[in-house]
Assembly symmetry: C2
Homo-oligomer: 119 residues x 2
């Protein structure tokens, strides 16, 4: 069920390679990698992100900036879009540099409430 | 000198409240807060970010995603735009939710090479 939602999002976005639903405790719930893109290790990316997202969540609360909703990371060869689903889970999508930044963010904003409804 | 560049960027963006040039070691080089926005503690934000940016930099290298260039964070009451300047420094800008996301990212992309030229 989660995998279908992740797959729909990844497949709709040109340049997207993988999506994951992850617990902030670093345990993944479900993941999808586009066929032919298995070089991208979305499980390892998810684990690295879980730690950072958890820290930023605590930091934004301490700074009275309200709840953390969204993070994006852009590296030379890969960008990652993250949406918090609730206090325990987030979804992340890895995309190649040529993907549309705006469309990726838009699709991830649609995905988070879909996943939340399924949890 | 750095402060002038930070101020120009923050003042050009409606909704921006503060900017900072920060070392990845958590020591700030220079900062600017818009008058009347002193409720935003950009020094503390910068220190929290330094830790997270440093971790994400190591993670992207380990994952062979190339160098980390850019991060954005969106919380309920504040968003933060981060651009890596080089291996040791980054610039960050805190903006209110009503600020233009696209313009903030554009201005930060202009700022990073300006700061790099001054370092």
């Amino acid at each position: 069920m989660f995998r279908d939602s992740l797959q729909r999002t990844v497949d709709r976005l040109s340049g997207a390679v993988a999506g994951i639903l992850m617990g902030l405790d670093g345990i993944s719930v479900d993941a999808y990698t586009k066929p032919g893109e298995e070089g991208i290790d979305i499980q390892t990316i998810g684990m690295e992100l879980a730690h950072v997202v958890g820290q930023m969540r605590k930091a934004t609360e301490q700074l009275e900036s309200g709840g953390l909703r969204e993070m994006t990371l852009r590296a030379d060869k890969l960008s990652v879009f993250i949406q918090l689903v609730n206090d325990e889970y987030f979804v992340a999508c890895a995309v190649k540099p040529e993907a549309s930044f705006g469309k990726a963010r838009y699709l991830m904003r649609l995905l988070a409430p879909q996943i939340q409804a399924e949890l």
